[in-house]
Every structure is written in C-alpha cells, then in structure tokens.
C-alpha cells in the first residue's frame, strides 16, 4: 500500500511490520513522531507490543536489552543527546549480543543547543559494536528497519538505522508499505539460542576474567565480519520479495566516472542533482552513497573507487583533531592496495546548515582542480 509518510513514521512502520515486541523509548526532538505513532499502534492493538515509557534514554536502552535478553524483539529510537546518554548501554547491547534495533535521527550535539542535522552523534558511537545504516529516503528507512532486524538476529549484533534530522525525519514522501504477510515471510520470529528463562537458568554477563573476555570480543568482531555478505544477501532477498534492493552502498553513475563523490544520508540525493548538472557540462561525475558504515564495506568501496581518478568524500561530521570520519575510513579502505584515486576530503553542513547543489558543485570543482589532496581540512560553506 502506498502512503505519504514522514521519515519518522517510516521508522514506526518498519518497527510495526517487524513485529517489535517491546518498545522502550524517551522523547527527544526530532525523534518524537517515531514513538508517538508506535505508542498509538500499541494502544489500538495494531501492534502487539509492550510500550515502556521510560524516564531516560539510558533506561530505554537498558529496558530494550532486558527485553531482548528475555527473548523479545526490541526496538527503540532516539537522537543526539539521547544517543550520547545511551553510550554505556550501546556497549552493553553489543557485548551482551542483544540484537536490538535503534532508529537514530542525526542531530547535532550541544552546546549550543541545536536540533538540526549532522552526523557526530551516531559516528561518535562508531566503536560500540553496533551495525550502522545511513538512509536517504523514507522508503529506505522503512525497508532498512526490517532488514536490520533480520541481519541483527542472525548475527546477534544490534543495529542502528540512521536518518537526517528534519531533512528526512520531517519530510513527507511516498512510501510503499509492504503487507504484513510479506514481511512475515521475509523476517521470521526472533528465536535466540539462549534467553532468560527459569526453565533453563543461566547467568548472563558475569564477572569475566582475562581468561575469557578476549574471546568474547574476538567472536563479536568475527561475527561483525560476516555482516557485509549477509547484508548483501538479505538485500537481494529483499529485492526478490519487495522489488527494492538494499545493499552495502548505493551507486549512481560510477562506472565511467572520473570523479566519485562519496556521501552518506540525504546529501547523496543532493549530490545526484549536482552530478546531473555536472554531466551536462561534460564532467563525468558519479556518486557512491555509503549505506552501511559499520561494518565498513572495505571491499565494495575499494572496488568502486578504484575505477575513478579522483574521489571527493563529503562529511557532515568532524573528528576533532583529525578530519572527516568518512574521509578517513575511505582512505584506509584504499591504503596499501596499489595505485588508487586521489582522495579529497570536505566538511560541510555541520549543525544543519544546508548542503546545497552549489556546495557540491564547488566540491567537485576543487577536487578536479587539485592534483593532490589538501593536507588540511577543506571546509565548505563555513562563514569565516
């Protein structure tokens, strides 16, 4: 059924169709509509789930973990400060191997107070052991929640489905809402190997000596390494069932591109408008949109980028004292693999400043003009 929905409601529909059983959430702008709709769905029986209206994001994740440990499918959503408050529990979810799925609306961190988008909130959670998907349309948000549960539960690793504040969270788009039967056929019920039950008592997460801890973390990484193939495989299955492919990345005109713009989130769609314009001017530009950030799809990124002479990575984030986070990751994917493209890094759009077609054209022009990447950060649109 096609429906005009906002990005936040795409998360709600995704959770509903995934038959989330426990939702524990705390309100934060710009996430509120996600949980408002879910709470209505729980109240009117559309969704058979327990909705726990917790008193903080920290408790939201703790309750999600408890529910998951008891064997239930758990979903929550948050943004920025809320995600930062959850940080400790993000480690708990992955370390405890609880496949919770979390919707995060990318919002800039305070101070000063900002409710507008950038990626520093979710990228600050890079090393928590969560898979991270970055979406660029409401349809993709909805679809990704369903896929994320499937991949998470197969690997027992939690997932974060990320979308830009307002630019996507509050933008209404047509989305195809699949039937429950079709989603049920794609996503089987959650059946963990072990769970909290008095009929089979075990202790979870007890004091772990140096004799055992190392192996737990080794296994988490080993299972994370299985994720790229599984995301591709479940993405193809998704396409068979629903007609929309969900891969590690999303490419646009990369095959013959001399310049590939690497983006994530909604900036990718703006980049494509710029690319169309650049192509009319005779510049062969293309776009690689990173859908999955963790695990980082090294092989896929390498294979695509090696086709181009120049790459421009656009970051709506910054790792203070280093550079744009995607820029650094892309460079590390290419490092030591022979002669590759020149990789330029650009930082733009922090705190929700619009990333315009003109910005992207400027980025393309700079990347094409320079033979070598600048040693320092190139800021686009900063007023200094």
């Amino acid at each position: 059924m096609k429906k005009v929905i906002m990005g936040n409601h795409a998360l709600s529909y995704g959770a509903m169709l995934s038959r989330a059983q426990v939702i524990a959430a705390y309100p934060i702008t710009p996430q509120t509509q996600v949980v408002e709709l879910l709470s209505e769905m729980c109240a009117d029986g559309t969704l058979d789930a327990k909705f726990v209206k917790v008193e903080s994001e920290h408790s939201a994740m703790a309750a999600s973990i408890g529910a998951s440990a008891a064997g239930a499918r758990a979903f929550t959503a948050t943004s920025a400060q809320g995600l930062a408050l959850m940080h400790e529990m993000l480690h708990w979810a992955s370390g405890g191997r609880h496949p919770v799925v979390l919707g995060n609306i990318n919002r800039a961190l305070a101070p000063g107070w900002s409710i507008w988008t950038d990626q520093n909130d979710s990228l600050s959670q890079r090393d928590t052991g969560w898979m991270q998907y970055y979406c660029s349309s409401n349809q993709e948000v909805l679809d990704t929640v369903i896929q994320a549960f499937k991949v998470s539960e197969a690997l027992m690793i939690p997932s974060m489905v990320v979308l830009d504040a307002f630019v996507l969270s509050h933008t209404y788009e047509v989305a195809d809402i699949p039937s429950q039967e079709a989603v049920d056929a794609y996503l089987p019920p959650f059946k963990p190997e072990m769970r909290l039950t008095p009929s089979d008592p075990h202790a979870f997460g007890g004091l772990t000596s140096p004799e055992h801890y190392f192996e737990f973390r080794y296994k988490l990484q080993k299972d994370m390494e299985k994720a790229p193939d599984l995301i591709e495989k479940t993405g193809i299955e998704f396409e068979k069932a629903f007609g929309r492919k969900l891969g590690l990345v999303d490419e646009y005109l990369t095959d013959d591109a001399e310049l590939i713009l690497v983006t994530s989130g909604t900036v990718g769609l703006t980049a494509r408008v710029a690319i169309d314009a650049l192509r009319k001017e005779g510049i062969k530009a293309g776009n690689l949109r990173m859908r999955v950030f963790r695990p980082f799809p090294f092989k896929t990124v390498r294979n695509i980028l090696k086709k181009a002479a120049r790459v421009a990575v656009i970051d709506r984030n910054v790792s203070y004292g280093h550079h744009g986070i995607f820029y650094e990751e892309v460079k590390s994917a290419l490092y030591g693999k022979g002669k590759g493209p020149v990789v330029h890094g650009f930082i733009t759009g922090l705190g929700g400043r619009d990333v315009t077609v003109d910005f992207i054209k400027d980025i393309a022009a700079q990347a094409l003009a320079k033979k070598k990447a600048d040693a320092e950060i190139v800021w686009i649109g900063v007023k200094i």
Binding site: H58, G66, A69, G71, A72, L196, H202
Partner: protein, 297 residues
C-alpha cells in the same frame, strides 16, 4: 524430666543459592539473597547491577544461583528488570517474578533515577536494595546510605560523614507503590513472610534490607546476626511495611529500646565518635522512632 527443645523449621529447606558463592565471612547480602529466593522460588529472574553481588554470584562461567541472572549496568537494575518483565510477558510467561537486586550505591545514588521511573510507572518488579551503607565492593567509599558519623575511605575520621542517611523508604513511599517493606537478615521469618506477600502483589514492590558488612563496618563476622538484632532493638532499623505509600504496619514492636551505643560499639567505623556525637545520633533515632510510631497509628 524436662522435655528436650525441638527445633521447628520455619523456612523451606529448598536452597536456590549454592554454597560456592564468593561472599566474605559474615556477609549480610549473601543471607539476604538466600532468604529472598526461599520465598520467591525457582520462577524468578534476578537482575544484578554492579555491587557486591556481581562478585558474590561467581565469575563466568559460574553462578551460585539456580535462577537466571542478568548482570546489568550499575544504574540500570530497575530499568533492566522492567525490560526483562516486558520481554517475558511477550514470550507468554506472566508468572515469573523479576527481581532487581542492588546495593545501596546502586539504589540510593546512581540507580535512583531508573528506580523512580519504574516505581512511578508501577512496573511489575520487586526491587531489593541490600543496604550495607557504603560502596563496599569498591573498597568502602561513602554513599548516600552511609549513616551520620561513619568512617569510610572517603569520609576519614577527621572528616567523617556529617550528613544523615538518605530516607530512601520515604522517597519510595512518595511514589505510592503498592508495597514497601524493610527487612533484616537477623529476622529471616519476617523477611520470608514479606517476600512471599510481595510475590503475590502486582506492581512495583520495594525492599530495603539491612545487610551488615564486617569488612566495611569493621565488625566481627560472627557479630552479623547480633548487629541485625541490635539494629532492630535500638530502632536504628525498624521493621515495617507500607502499602500504597500510606498504610504503615510495624512488624516488630520494641518495648524497651536498647541504646544506640550498644550497637555502635560493635563496629570500628564509629569508634572515633565522642559521647556528645553519639548522644546526637541517639536523639535523631529517638525522633525518627516517634515519627514512625505516630505513623503506624
């Protein structure tokens, strides 16, 4: 000829806690768990945040409890228990009792927000705070449950704790939850009865369990039960229940109260106190007792 005295077993013989636990000698927290599980039975899940019990239970891959245990983050005993209860119910298990089992630091301090949230929502959990009156697991640092006058490693003798213990039961009563009880490891039958009663009540139930710590209190392990008795007999730690934040019932009535000095002198943590300071503590306990008696009606 005099008939020999016959002991009657007032608690079930069934043990859900094994002897292989890692508690110190004379640990009140170990006894508290043992008695609680005797009352709650096998259909129980216990959520344990950072506290002595995260060690007492035993290291991976062991557990001294014959019920499922979830070791959770320090401030999340209540919120984790809430999630577990919701999860179990969605799995079709509405019977299992979910217990949050935290120390005083995890309850009075870092976990109070999650506990208040669960209590306000009246989540269907039993929250047990075993109170040994300081951060004992990390090496005897003061918590807001540490009583006035006590020495700890962060309240050295020259700067002993000069603030009263936080009134946690009062705070919980202000949430109007269905059931609150104080309990004491030296009164196992009383604790057993109240745990059994709590098991059959729905909603948030809160237990404040007096739990001596010989290591932190500088008391002799063999005095643990004696201290428990004295805590009640001096009315330092009275035994009572509160229903819906209003109806208060005293469980053990004390006719002749013993002086607090008798209780304090068994513990090295109060050794530095002067007579006038002990008199002030006595006066505070007297006032608290009078208030309690008036509330008990």
């Amino acid at each position: 000829m005099k008939k020999p005295n016959k002991m009657t077993m007032t608690l079930p013989a069934e043990e859900l806690m094994s002897s292989g636990h890692l508690a110190c000698q004379g640990c009140g927290a170990a006894l508290a768990m043992r008695y609680a599980l005797k009352a709650l039975g096998q259909k129980t899940v216990v959520c344990i945040p950072a506290c002595c019990w995260s060690v007492i239970d035993g290291p991976y891959p062991y557990s001294s409890l014959d019920v499922p245990v979830y070791h959770c983050a320090f401030e999340t005993a209540a919120s984790t228990a809430t999630g577990v209860k919701a999860g179990l119910e969605m799995m079709g298990d509405t019977e299992t009792t979910v217990v949050a089992w935290a120390g005083d630091g995890g309850t009075f301090d870092i976990g109070i927000q999650a506990l208040s949230g669960a209590a306000e929502r009246n989540d269907d959990i039993i929250y047990v705070c075993y109170d040994n009156e300081a951060y004992m697991n990390t090496g005897i640092q003061r918590s807001s449950a540490t009583p006035y006058g006590a020495w700890t490693t962060t309240t050295p003798v020259k700067h002993f704790k000069d603030r009263p213990k936080k009134d946690m039961v009062g705070i919980m009563a202000a949430h109007h939850i269905p059931y609150i009880a104080t309990a004491n490891i030296a009164y196992p039958e009383d604790m057993f009865r109240k745990m059994k009663k709590a098991k059959d009540i729905r909603g948030t139930r809160f237990f404040h369990v007096y739990s001596p710590c010989p290591v932190g209190w500088k008391s002799r392990p063999e005095d643990t039960i004696k201290l428990g008795r004295l805590a009640v007999q001096t009315t330092y730690f009275p035994l009572y229940e509160i229903e819906y934040g209003e109806k208060l019932t005293l469980n053990v009535k004390i006719k002749e109260r013993k002086p607090i000095d008798e209780y304090m002198r068994l513990q090295g943590r109060f050794r530095h106190l002067q007579e006038d300071q002990i008199a002030a503590i006595q006066a505070e306990i007297d006032a608290r007792w009078q208030k309690l008696l008036s509330r008990a009606g």
